[in-house]
Symmetry: C2
Subunit: 294 residues, 2 copies
């Protein structure tokens, strides 16, 4: 909501050499290579739609069974030819098999998976944020994903921030297989936390999903087949030869650079920002991902 | 992220007559007429774009000068023929004059307005939420808008939830006139709170703005003129004859029905929801608006 005159000025204002970073871009440009991690090709999905490629990082450290099942489905070509079937404003875009009457076979993949809604907090990686949260005793980041923790119950979970990906299910807790997935495209849907299996995050291409035409049916499901966006293909990066994989790297959420990023975000003050919030919630912390330069 | 089989089941499950409401729709259907207020035509904007009508309720009780200036601009036809000039993913859609070199005259409207970023908490209507918030000592609702309050500083402000509308400005605090406006189309942008003048909320048609193609320039500004969405016209509802105004009514945020809505949201539990959050943040409370039936 800055005006363009300001944008131009900000882009021209280079930082003095060696000065402490004033912007996120400067911070990332100065960060050591060790603060970044390459995405694991065995847990990275490439979803090809007419608009381009959507890249999803899976989180097997949180929900081991669901990502494994999604991998089985992807390797069997299950998603190829399916579609985006739902776009509900300020909520989710969802994809899967549009044919309810004659659904595609899941092949060797499981049709039901026990709920992976939460995880034992003990041993679960967690970098804690200092600020209070409306929903959880503690929030922070776990191996690159926004997360929460409750010392009382001893449980931890991934939270429904923008671009997070989860497993659609029916009423039964074990009814989600990963054959139908959704991504958050609006305000953080924190009421969903602990009610559904979160499996990952869109690390590139959420801006291809978020502008999808909203569906006019109940809950944003498309009413006409031609409104759906076809999915050409979903593959694990590991299925591609090494030279065809994207060398995407994510800033480690347990790194010093990330800790600085959090502080810069909490106390954001520059020529435009007059009043630093002094706080930040788990869904307002950027999680940088970039192409590794060789 | 429910699957469609469940959606169909939920839609067919009618509530028993006279039973306490189980869903938001049931609650609203049972609510007394007095819990609703008609939008004030003198503070309601109709913005006509090719996709349809976007309706914005202005909040003069919070920021009197900016909505008045926007009204002056609308009455003079200032916005007619301007455009959506920016769409930044998970952030804002912004509109105004695309011509920076030969900008349209503001006519009788002011070019600068003293910042209306916060308001005295004393006398400011406020219905408090019970849960803690990351950013503010208190959050709640003020005359239909999401708001926050700080007893220490004695200030209150409207918060940047989804669909909230604010006044674009340059670095100077008084540089926003209302000639350039933005609406939040992603996660609540709470870092903006108290840094910019919030003037209202999109009460209908945010789903026409949120799917706009994202701009590829810095901060999501469109790089090519043809990417911009033209604005045919912006009028105050009060400029139209009474029979052409939309009889939109909003649920009063100081009503008993709204208090029940908040509780239902905090303790959402049904056939699908297994674990109620037990809390709700100010940006996850729906603010119902509907056409009044005569």
């Amino acid at each position: 909501m800055v005006r363009r005159a300001w944008v131009a000025a900000a882009l021209c204002a280079g930082a003095a050499l060696g000065a402490p970073p004033k912007t996120l871009s400067e911070l990332l440009a100065q960060s050591p290579a060790a603060d970044w991690r390459l995405l694991d090709p065995a847990n990275t999905l490439y979803m090809e739609i007419p608009q381009g490629r959507v890249v999803i990082e899976l989180a097997p450290h949180f929900a081991p069974q669901s990502p494994a099942n999604i991998g089985t489905l992807a390797k069997a070509g299950y998603f190829d030819g399916l579609a985006i079937i739902r776009a509900q404003d300020n909520y989710v875009v969802q994809w899967g098999d549009p044919d309810e009457k004659n659904p595609k076979s899941l092949g060797a993949a499981k049709a039901k998976i026990p709920p992976e809604f939460t995880h034992a907090a003990k041993g679960f990686p967690f970098t804690k944020l200092p600020d209070v949260d409306t929903y959880a005793a503690e929030t922070g980041f776990s191996a690159g994903f926004p997360a929460a923790r409750d010392p009382k119950s001893g449980r931890a979970w991934l939270v429904h921030c923008y671009a997070m990906v989860g497993v659609g299910r029916d009423n039964a807790e074990d009814s989600g297989s990963g054959a139908e997935l959704y991504a958050i495209i609006g305000n953080a849907a924190r009421l969903l936390d602990r009610n559904i299996t979160v499996v990952g995050r869109v690390v590139q291409g959420i801006d291809l999903l978020s502008p999808m035409k909203r569906g006019t049916g109940a809950l944003g499901f498309y009413e006409k087949p031609e409104e759906r966006t076809p999915i050409r293909e979903v593959k694990l990066a590991s299925e591609l030869p090494a030279e065809k994989r994207m060398p995407l790297e994510a800033l480690r959420t347990d790194s010093k650079t990330f800790a600085t990023l959090v502080q810069m975000r909490r106390f954001r003050k520059d020529d435009w920002y007059k009043v630093p919030a002094g706080h930040v919630d788990v869904c307002n912390v950027p999680l940088p991902v970039r192409l590794r330069k060789d």
